[in-house]
Amino acid sequence: MEMLLMGACLSILGLAVACLAFGAATRGLEEEKPAASVELKVAKPAVATRFFVAPAEPVLPLAPRPQLTIEALLLQIEDHVRLEHAAAESYLASPNAALLHSRTVSRFVN
């Protein structure tokens, strides 16, 4: 009789542990579902996709570039021409690939 009761208790305990484990496992899945759907919403294109219409590209925010005055731009170009002229002179004085493609400090292209 005692053995039977002990077996029954152990069975109930095992069932309870199994229920707890099952509950915990299914609750975890239910909680994860909404997060997954949110991610999917973010991944959706802003414009509905149609045949032969490319989905809208996500627009990346560009860093604002200061607008140069024409005079400043022309000065940059002049400096660039002088620097390139000097670089070309150096190359012609001693022609080699390294001098041909030497980096410039010109603000016009950097």
Partner: protein, 154 residues
């Protein structure tokens, strides 16, 4: 007297005789020596100062003269006068008071016909100067293309 690239290899007397064919012109700061498209009748040897050579370019809907090269004393500008079709392909301006000797093409032709050795030396100097500028601009062009390639492959 500055060392003039067009007259290199000539002795002083001969160089003096060629220079005597020309006319000395003093340009005020900002004065234009010749303009793009003008008929080219004279080549100019810079004896003092500097000449800016520019080409028109559109910058933000405005046409601006952009610097292509600068030539200092000793160099020549306007060699279109010596090569067909005798039209200037750039605009030349003096950024500061500058002195040039203008050598008329017809006067040079007549002198070189009578003095072929001088003509040969000057023609050789002209070819060297043109070749040098061609190499310079080839190099500058290739550097720009290299930058375009790098920006396209980045």
């Amino acid at each position: 007297m500055v060392n003039l690239e067009l007259l290199q290899g000539l002795d002083d007397d001969e160089a003096g005789r060629v220079l005597a064919l020309g006319e000395r012109i003093t340009l005020a700061a900002g004065e234009v020596l010749f303009r793009l498209g003008d008929s080219a009748g004279s080549v100019y040897l810079i004896t003092r100062g500097c000449i800016r050579l520019t080409l028109p370019m559109h910058v933000r809907d405005r046409e601006e003269d952009l610097l292509v090269e600068e030539q200092a004393a000793g160099h020549m500008v306007g060699w279109s006068a010596l090569t067909p079709p005798h039209r200037f392909t750039l605009t030349a301006t003096a950024p500061l008071e500058t002195e040039v000797v203008a050598l008329d093409r017809d006067a040079l032709d007549a002198y070189f016909a009578a003095h072929p050795k001088t003509g040969q030396a000057v023609a050789f100097n002209l070819a060297s100067a043109i070749g040098r500028r061609l190499q310079l601009f080839q190099t500058m062009w290739l550097r720009e293309v290299q930058r375009m390639v790098e920006s396209r492959c980045a």
